[in-house]
Symmetry: C2
Subunit: 300 residues, 2 copies
């Protein structure tokens, strides 16, 4: 388990290094918190807050274990009982840049192991993925995002990208708004790719592809200036992000209900979000255009 | 039913008149939307948005009916099956004033009727209450809020205030933060006060007491000036309000899951909310003071 943890921590460190470079402002709060969980395990929460590049950004690692499987794990699993121990580890990333021309991005990679009485691995699976939430649509960025995901996953199995990108559209959907959260990406769960070692290797490769694609998009957009109105529109749409995370996201619900570390779980929320019963005509026009793009099939 | 609806609409109109008076700014958007529900019934959503007094304020009436009881109603009811028709009507009010020295307030009164095959009332109950969410604590305001609630309810039944104020503390609680949403008030459900007529009379009296107490608090605080920091603190604490409404509030969850009118349901959300992984020392001190007060037993 220590070797696996090390590999996840490396993923975290690589992303932290890349994002810290982007945030040159001395005003920014850069916070690294290591924490332990009373029931077993712990993690490290890394946050950049109120910078000149990021409104906020969280790159979190956690590895937790328990002697009784959480009920929510059973539906997914081959195992039908909660009487086993488990170990779950992963890295979660969320980036809310200040500039509304740069999309919000999210990435998660995780390994779940079921343990027998001698703490040996009885069963295991991996899950994760990444998705993109633009405020203003750039077809070029979205197409690059999807293409890189496909090229990378094709190297593992030609069937993966098709399935994972479809999952992503289905998962990141807000029923009460009948809107997708973003323009998709990839998402999967309960997956074995050959051995555990090969599976973690695939997660490493997914994390790297996410980071590279997102950095490309950042480089394409970071020099664009933005207006007060565009910032206001971003904050209104970040209201939708809050709605998805608090109402629809199973991971957030599970974390909050299972006595997880609340500040780490909710580090995914944006610095600021806004709601208006009625938006101005200009905002409505911006939103109409965006929502139309979110409904499109961007999979390549 | 039409007579009952008329009485709820009067409650709505009286509150709209009072709050419209407070909002003198010509910048404010004042919106009144009447809507129909395809499955039966409808309502009127009234919103004041981005004014000089209110960040936002919603005073909503709805009356809906259906031929099959929603499952969520059964647990509460004497009736054990969904095979009955129902009619549910009520008024919901939420006020987020701009000035952080004025608390946010919420009030709801409702009547639920179970109908037999001839659309006659087979069973019924009332529910509702009101609660107060300050950002800065004024003992005088809170004590007035609770005392007025007690004096009013004592006129109906001496046991009500004690039960209802305890319910309120239990209901408006955010488990993942281990914090109450506010300093309480009254909350009840599945209640009969003598006849339907007497019960609606009690709801009218509760709505009136809410309005009077809240107007008193507004008058005590509206002339206080506030700083940018105090406004920022209010927005951070409004993040908690969003968390309660989206994660914990059963009414919101039921509305969203049952294909309710989303913009009306979410008109309870503040104009702006904010989240920070780490708050400044000044904000932490303000929050510590507030959270201590929220944990106090304010019931009189």
């Amino acid at each position: 388990m220590k070797t696996f943890e090390k590999r996840f921590k490396s993923i975290q460190n690589e992303i932290i290094a890349a994002y810290t470079k982007l945030e040159s402002s001395k005003r920014a709060s850069i916070i690294s918190d290591s924490w332990r969980r009373p029931e077993g395990g712990g993690g490290r929460t890394f946050v950049i807050q109120e910078g000149s590049f990021f409104d906020n950004c969280a790159v979190n690692f956690s590895s937790i274990f328990g002697s009784k499987l959480p009920k929510s794990a059973i539906g997914n699993s081959i195992v039908k009982s909660t009487r086993y121990g488990y170990q779950a580890m992963g890295v979660s990333v969320i980036c809310h840049p200040k500039n509304p021309h740069i999309p919000t991005s999210h990435m998660n990679v995780r390994l779940f192991c079921i343990l027998d009485k001698k703490n040996k691995i009885k069963d295991w699976w991996i899950g994760g993925g990444y998705d993109l939430t633009p405020y203003f649509v750039n077809e070029e960025d979205i197409s690059h995002w999807h293409k890189s995901a496909k090229i990378n996953l094709d190297g593992f199995n030609k069937s993966y990208y098709g399935k994972f990108s479809k999952n992503c559209n289905e998962y990141f959907y807000i029923p009460h708004r009948d809107e997708r959260r973003g323009v998709g990406g990839v998402f999967f769960d309960n997956k074995k790719h050959k051995s555990i070692d090969s599976s973690i290797h695939m997660l490493e490769s997914i994390a790297k592809t996410y980071l590279n694609s997102y950095q490309d998009i950042i480089n394409n957009r970071k020099n664009l200036s933005f207006t007060k109105d565009e910032k206001e529109f971003q904050e209104l749409r970040r209201g939708r992000y809050v709605e998805f995370n608090l109402v629809n996201d199973r991971g957030t619900a599970f974390g909050l209900q299972s006595n997880g570390r609340t500040p780490s779980i909710l580090s995914s929320l944006p610095l600021r979000a806004s709601w208006k019963y009625r938006k101005s005509k200009e905002m409505q026009a911006k939103e109409k255009k965006l929502v139309k793009a979110l409904g499109k099939d961007w999979n390549v």
